[in-house]
């Protein structure tokens, strides 16, 4: 029996549940580097750790019999693919909250029905694109655009989006200065089962153990989003320069570079005192993965992201106006193609030879960089193949749930620890400043942008 378990917000509470149920999955804990777990109590039980969002997909495909994830991700999958073989079988009582459609108070929206009345092209930003589209269709919005993002959803309101799907409760959302318009889906943790496994396998012992936990599980899960990320916000003006800065791993080196260049950005750089004048510059912190698309759409003029994410964007949209302005040099990684060490292939030619003999129905290519992975497989004639999108922890997919991984690595050590080997290096990536090919229409805006670019260039030189 195979069990898919969540990383992230539900991990600690899930670990407490599994411990209380006596499942004997001792290595399932935060900061553990182990993705594959075996049970001391149930010899036939194995478990693997995934990003929460991957779990409904993995269970519905039958790769796992059971899984634990938030109800919101189950709804996100089933709203688009209602016939997937996925059943919610048990509410686990923690991870409480809701996914809400929210708007900025500046939008003038106070009820969800206000959207129906207005024929404009509504922009909806969300980590849940299927739910966002289903809401737009349900509301019979005449025109709408859904922007799928990796996170920092609330940062897009109100300048870059009209509506966002945010997790939390109404009080939290009000505290963030947003207006909750419509509850979309609960986020509470649930046990999900593959329908076929549920119908055919005896999972009674494991289910009894989970159901026997009567004491409530301490709920320390925090909503996945709803952190106010607008750092400097000034009224929209044609000459405004909109700059996107990265969160996550790239935040620290970016902040260091900006501080060195003389920028003092409260809440981002640790610099105190007055820095370079940033009047007329709006700065928001969003995910680097989302920046190229946002620059292409004209929501931002400049952004600091990775060359890997720029390349992924350009693989999907080859005619996009986004371009690299400046290589920043930090966050250097290699984007590599990886297989398990047991495979008798050390390079692409060897992989092709092996595939011609191995008799795989198709090659499963897992990656966070879905567009790079797709192009890589296509250009290298690895057909037939299928790209398996992942949301992190990708090395856990091999060998059971994917055959080849397109992943970034600094030293290759983590890959080696997971008994994986590199068979090709696609390219090297570092942080970069990106912008658009479109010329700014306002001279003042162009001058401000140029000043930022030149300051960073001089700092690097």
């Amino acid at each position: 029996m195979k069990f898919a378990l969540p990383k992230g917000r539900l991990m600690a509470a899930t670990a407490r549940l599994l411990e209380a149920a006596g499942l004997g999955l001792a290595d399932f804990k935060e900061n553990s580097r182990s993705y594959r777990l075996t049970s001391q109590r149930f010899p036939g039980l194995s478990a693997k750790v995934f990003q929460e969002k991957d779990i409904p997909v993995q269970v519905s495909l039958g790769h796992y019999d059971l899984g634990i994830c938030g109800s919101d991700w189950v709804t996100e999958l089933l709203v688009r693919y209602p016939d997937m073989a996925l059943e919610r079988v048990l509410d686990l009582g923690y991870g409480q909250g809701s996914l809400y459609a929210v708007a900025s108070p500046d939008s003038g929206l106070s009820r969800i029905d206000d959207l129906r009345a207005d024929g404009r092209a509504w922009r909806i930003v969300s980590e849940y694109p299927n739910l966002a589209e289903s809401l737009a269709l349900k509301l019979r919005l005449r025109r709408f655009k859904v922007f799928p993002v990796w996170g920092a959803v609330e940062a897009y309101l109100p300048e870059c989006a009209d509506l966002a799907l945010v997790t939390g409760n109404t009080r939290q959302i009000a505290d963030y200065g947003l207006v909750p318009l419509y509850p979309m889906a609960p986020t509470a943790a649930c046990l999900v089962a593959n329908r076929n496994s549920w119908e055919c396998k005896d999972m009674g012992e494991l289910l009894s153990a989970l159901a026997s936990v009567s004491a409530p599980i301490e709920d320390d899960s925090v909503p996945g989003s709803a952190v106010v990320r607008t750092i400097v916000s000034v009224p929209t003006a044609p000459s405004l320069v909109r700059l996107a800065l990265p969160d996550g791993h790239q935040k620290k080196p970016t902040a260091e570079l900006l501080a060195k260049a003389g920028f003092a950005i409260p809440g981002y750089t640790e610099t105190t005192g007055a820095g370079i004048d940033l009047t007329g510059v709006m700065i928001k912190v969003i995910r680097p993965q989302d920046m190229p698309l946002q620059v292409a759409n004209g929501n931002f003029d400049l952004a600091i992201t990775g060359q890997d994410w720029l390349r992924d964007h350009l693989c999907r949209f080859p005619a996009s106006p986004v371009k690299e302005i400046l290589e920043l040099g930090f966050g250097r990684v290699r984007i590599v193609a990886v297989v398990v060490q047991e495979w008798p292939a050390d390079d692409l030619a060897g992989l092709r030879r092996y595939l011609s003999q191995a008799g795989l129905p198709w090659l499963r290519v897992a990656s966070e960089y879905t567009n790079i992975a797709d192009k890589f497989a296509r250009d290298n004639h690895l057909s037939p193949y299928r790209v398996v999108p992942t949301w992190g922890a990708s090395e856990a997919f091999l060998p059971e749930d994917a055959d080849l991984l397109v992943e970034n690595t600094q030293t290759g050590q983590t890959l080696a620890q997971h008994k994986l080997k590199i068979i090709d290096t696609l390219f090297t990536s570092s942080a970069c400043l990106i912008g658009s090919n479109r010329m700014p229409s306002e001279p003042a805006q162009a001058a401000r942008m140029e000043a930022i670019i030149q300051t960073l260039r001089q700092t690097l030189s």
Binding site: D113, R140, R142, F144, K145, F147, F317, S320
Partner: protein, 412 residues
């Protein structure tokens, strides 16, 4: 691994294509005679063309093939055309808006996701749209056009089933629901789901009786609608404009000798329908349908313009029709001797036979019994030896003209 076609997609083989062209031919001919002009819309359209209330229901929109184009970074989605009428309305608005009356027809594929593998996700339809007339005559004319095509395909047991979207909408309006609920209920009705309506317990006097009369009874003549009018007019005057319009159309169909049935609850159709709706059946098989859509053009950016249309479903018709017998004579051309001397003569003969209306083909290892005639082309005299397939008797001929003359004489 063998190549496999996509789920829900269908290969059309030679036999299928022969039937496809046969249907298309009859349809084109009928449309052309009634003054319709052929158009073709693109396979890709913007999604927003189909999302307004009054175009496609959310249930249908959930099954469209939509995606971001290669330059779709703005989030604007495109769809594989899920319907023939809405793109035609868009085409009219974009190109023919100055034309008060347009009669347009098309043969196009439409795409819709179907869960079951045996259901086709790509379907072909023959469509005709009449834009610019609100007259009942236009509705009757379209129904008769469809009827004529089905008769032209030599189908028997053709039935027309009629309903009226305006009547359904008027009936729902009497229920006094909120606008959102009203849209939702109409969406269900137009998907053919009448359960929600029959389960409603309206408080308004006469409405329950009207629901029962309209949804449970079937009519076979316009008299049925006249009877309804008499009974419903006092308590539900809001139904009268639609009932009168329905009556006008059915009276015309009766005059034209069209056999039809009236079944309000058969009103499966599109959300854009506003007036008479019709379905064509051959035996138990639905082979087409259509209706009036007077409110659609403003939703795709045009002015208020009445319109109605029909579509015949190629896939169903291909299963029902008999393939027309092949009337042309088939000639197999075989060479003997030095190719440098006979190849040119062989091609010359083929060209002349084609010009004379015969099917002539070079023998590349073909099966002789698939042909009516075999001609042996030789470098030496006699240059042509003609023989009917399966017979011993042959004719020794000296020229291409003699070959054609002999084939013609023997066939007459």
């Amino acid at each position: 691994m063998a190549n496999q076609k996509c789920k829900g997609c269908r290969d059309l083989l030679a036999e299928d294509m022969a039937k496809f062209r046969q249907i298309e031919g009859v349809f084109r001919e009928c449309c052309s005679r009634w003054g319709y002009q052929e158009i073709r819309t693109p396979t890709l359209e913007y999604l927003h063309l189909f999302t307004s209330a009054g175009t496609l229901t959310p249930e249908r929109l959930n099954r469209v093939y939509s995606f971001l184009d290669w330059d779709g970074w703005s989030g604007e989605r495109v769809v594989l055309r899920p319907d023939g009428t809405i793109p035609t309305a868009r085409l009219y608005v974009d190109n023919l808006g100055q034309q008060k009356l347009a009669r347009l027809y098309y043969v196009e594929n439409i795409f819709s996701f179907e869960e079951k593998e045996e259901q086709s996700r790509e379907r072909w339809q023959c469509g005709a749209e009449l834009i610019g007339s609100s007259q009942p005559l236009a509705d009757a004319g379209l129904i008769m056009l469809g009827w004529q095509v089905l008769q032209g395909l030599k189908l028997s047991d053709i039935q027309v089933c009629l309903s009226h979207a305006g009547l359904l909408r008027a009936l729902v309006a009497e229920l006094g629901l909120e606008p959102g609920q009203q849209d939702e209920l109409i969406g269900h009705l137009l998907e053919g789901d009448f359960k929600a309506l029959t389960e409603l317990k309206p408080g308004k006097p006469g409405l329950e009786r009207a629901l029962s009369l309209l949804l449970e009874l079937r009519g076979r003549s316009h008299g049925f609608l006249k009877n309804m009018r008499v009974v419903l007019a006092p308590s539900l005057p809001g139904l009268l404009p639609s009932l009168d319009n329905f009556l006008n159309v059915t009276e015309m169909l009766t005059t034209l000798g069209c056999r039809y049935s009236i079944d309000i609850a058969s009103g499966k159709g599109f959300e854009y329908y506003t007036g008479v709706m019709f379905q064509f059946q051959v035996g138990d098989c639905f082979v087409g349908g259509g209706g009036r859509y007077d409110s659609l053009l403003p939703l795709v950016g045009g002015g208020l313009q009445p319109a109605s249309g029909l579509a015949l479903y190629m896939d169903q018709l291909m299963r029902l029709i008999e393939r027309a017998p092949v009337s042309e004579q088939r000639v197999l051309l075989r060479t003997e001797g030095d190719p440098s001397k006979v190849t040119k003569a062989c091609f010359e003969l083929a060209e002349r036979l084609h010009q004379a209306g015969y099917l002539a083909q070079l023998d590349l290892g073909d099966t002789e019994t698939n042909y009516d005639w075999v001609v042996l082309i030789r470098a030496a005299s006699p240059n042509y030896i003609l023989r009917r397939t399966g017979r011993r008797k042959s004719w020794k001929l000296a020229s291409v003209g003699e070959v054609i003359r002999m084939v013609r004489e023997q066939c007459s």
